[in-house]
């Protein structure tokens, strides 16, 4: 049987070859869905380690990017064994870079880290029109909406988006977090979001607190 602690450690240390070898060996044993889900959980714990090391200054953004890639590879490897059985998910987040802005690095880091924390992410991409947010919220009924942007012009787009969610009557069914270079407390109040951050790891803790609370 695979050593779950070793998986967590290897992910935490970003040892790609080691992780993939362990997971391939594991898949070769034809494991049950339940066993496979335990390994997924171990991988997610490894990502939590990565997040902690980022916060303590040992890891840098480049490491987060690589960790996101590593987790995707790990889950892809495990997919045949995970099956379609529902695993418990932490919550659903509809995510996008607001209209007028095409930056996506920050959004993608937040995406991979919140996926690693067990959230289901519906990523609308970049330059997302207001209506696309509204339609997707009505369709998937998420717990949280995440809006990202790098330029100050994104702040107005965020406000525009939140106002339109109100008009469409879906604002109060979700929590809204905004992220990116220009967001501040003042901007957050002006936009009418529930939380703001310039740090993806911090953002994940905020959304975790919401779904737990």
């Amino acid at each position: 049987m695979i050593n779950l602690k070793e998986v967590t450690t290897a992910i935490g240390e970003l040892e790609e070859e080691k992780v993939l070898k362990m997971l391939h060996d594991f898949i070769a044993t034809n494991p049950s869905e339940e066993e496979a889900h335990k390994v997924v959980a171990a991988c997610q714990e490894g990502m939590a380690v990565v997040g902690d090391m980022f916060e303590s200054g040992e890891y840098f953004v480049g490491d987060l990017i690589f960790a996101g890639e590593l987790l995707t590879e790990a889950i892809d490897t495990l997919k045949p064994a995970i099956g379609s059985g529902a695993s418990t998910k932490a919550g659903t987040i509809v995510l996008g870079t607001v209209h007028g802005d095409l930056h996506d690095i920050g959004k993608n880091i937040f995406k991979s880290m919140s996926e690693a924390a067990g959230f289901e992410i519906v990523d609308l991409g970049i330059d997302v029109p207001v209506q696309a947010f509204i339609d997707k919220i009505k369709e998937v009924n998420p717990d949280i909406v995440g809006m990202s942007g790098v330029l100050t012009l994104a702040l107005e787009s965020m406000k525009d988006t939140v106002d339109s969610l109100k008009e469409a009557g879906v604002r109060d069914s979700v929590k809204i977090i905004i992220g990116g270079n220009p967001v501040t407390k003042e901007a957050c109040d002006h936009i009418g979001a529930d939380a703001f951050t310039t740090n993806a790891a911090e953002g994940v803790k905020m959304v975790q607190a919401w779904v737990k609370g």
Partner: protein, 385 residues
């Protein structure tokens, strides 16, 4: 001598003294702005794109009302129309008609490092450019005609850099600090070949190939910096926008980024040049390396670093340029003045300091104008030595 000539000379003296850790008469106030100047002048890019005179006016206009001693740039930083002609729309205008944005594409595959290492220019011209610019994939002679046209647009753009600097010199007595561009070879790989995410993966999967490629790019970069000259002037400066280090660990930086970049800096210094190192993002984890740069060879233009920490740790090696965040300039005036005062009190004594915003002014809403005016005037008067 016209008034602006005298002012121009005084300002250059102010800047070069501060650069070399002498106390000038006043703390120099430096402008870092691009497309914001266009909106400040009440225009859109489409109004100025085919009208050089109007572009020059836009970049000169802020100096009528806002105090500055110098500017990093005197015109738009690139000719977006040239890229559009070539069919490589990595740069485009935002909906506001002012802000230029960049969309990243990846043009090189992970297994192509050997080609880049073997002959960077041939690989770039023969393989990367046709992938990047769809017009070059058209049939002959249409592709050649487009290439010729693009070349003329580029030469015209190079001229515009010089002419616009001359324009603000003559009209406002403002010196333009930047006369050439350099980059770190690692950033060249990231920006033009492999993209951000892919480069971060290569850093872990293919470190040796990255090192070889960065070394192969050193002579290419030096050619770009020298622009056919034998020696470089000590003023104006070579501007190095530095992209990846904020995202790299000290270990990765030391192994993958620093050796080839240090070589570029050393060669630039040997040629007599001086540099503006734009430490984009946060560099606080890399100060040991910065202190290996020759003393008084460069200004560090700060973005997210704590300026007091920077002054303390690298302030003897380089001049520090920074002081106020755009976010603060959108807050209250009193808060802005308070921040500026604290920065001058701690960073100005002994020279080696220039005042500037933490980021370039790009979009119309980046700062509250009245705050910017008040802060720059305050820094000029309070920053008297």
């Amino acid at each position: 001598m016209k008034v602006s000539d005298q002012m121009y000379q005084d300002r250059i003296k102010r800047i070069t003294k501060a650069f070399s850790h002498e106390e000038p008469d006043h703390v120099p106030v430096i402008m870092n702005a691009e497309t914001w100047n266009v909106s400040y002048s009440g225009m859109k890019i489409e109004d100025i794109i085919n009208d050089k005179e109007k572009e020059f006016e836009c970049f000169n206009k802020p100096f009528e009302n806002i105090y500055y001693d110098g500017t990093l740039f005197s015109c738009l930083s690139r000719d977006v129309e040239m890229y559009e002609l070539l069919g490589g729309g990595a740069y485009f205008y935002s909906d506001d008609g002012v802000t230029i944005q960049h969309k990243e594409y990846v043009f090189m595959n992970e297994d192509e490092y050997p080609k880049l290492i073997h002959d960077p220019m041939s690989f770039t011209i023969d393989e990367i450019f046709p992938r990047k610019y769809s017009a070059l994939r058209k049939s002959y002679p249409e592709n050649v005609e487009i290439l010729k046209k693009a070349k003329n647009m580029f030469l015209d753009y190079l001229q515009r850099i010089g002419h616009s600097a001359q324009y603000i010199k003559e009209n406002s007595g403002i010196p333009t600090l930047v006369s050439g561009i350099g980059q770190a070879p690692f950033d060249v790989i990231m920006d033009y070949y492999r993209g951000f995410k892919e480069t971060m993966q290569d850093a872990r999967r293919r470190p040796e190939e990255i090192i070889e490629a960065t070394n192969a790019l050193v002579p290419v970069m030096m050619k770009n910096i020298k622009q056919g000259k034998q020696n470089l002037e000590s003023y104006p400066f070579v501007y190095f926008p530095l992209h990846a280090p904020s995202f790299l660990s000290p270990k990765q930086f030391e192994k993958l980024y620093w050796p080839s970049f240090k070589e570029v800096l050393n060669q630039t210094a040997e040629l007599g040049g001086k540099a503006i190192l734009h430490l984009e993002g946060n560099w606080e984890h890399l100060y040991d390396f910065i202190n290996e740069v020759p003393k008084d060879f460069a200004i560090a233009l700060l973005e997210k670093d704590d300026i007091f920490k920077a002054k303390d740790k690298i302030g003897d090696t380089l001049a520090i340029c920074g002081g106020i965040e755009l976010g603060t300039l959108r807050a209250s005036k009193s808060e802005c003045i308070e921040v500026a005062k604290r920065v001058i009190d701690k960073c100005a004594p002994g020279g080696g300091f220039m005042f500037c915003t933490d980021k370039a002014l790009l979009t119309p809403g980046d700062v509250k104008l009245e705050n910017l005016i008040a802060v720059n005037e305050f820094v000029h008067s309070y920053g008297k030595y």
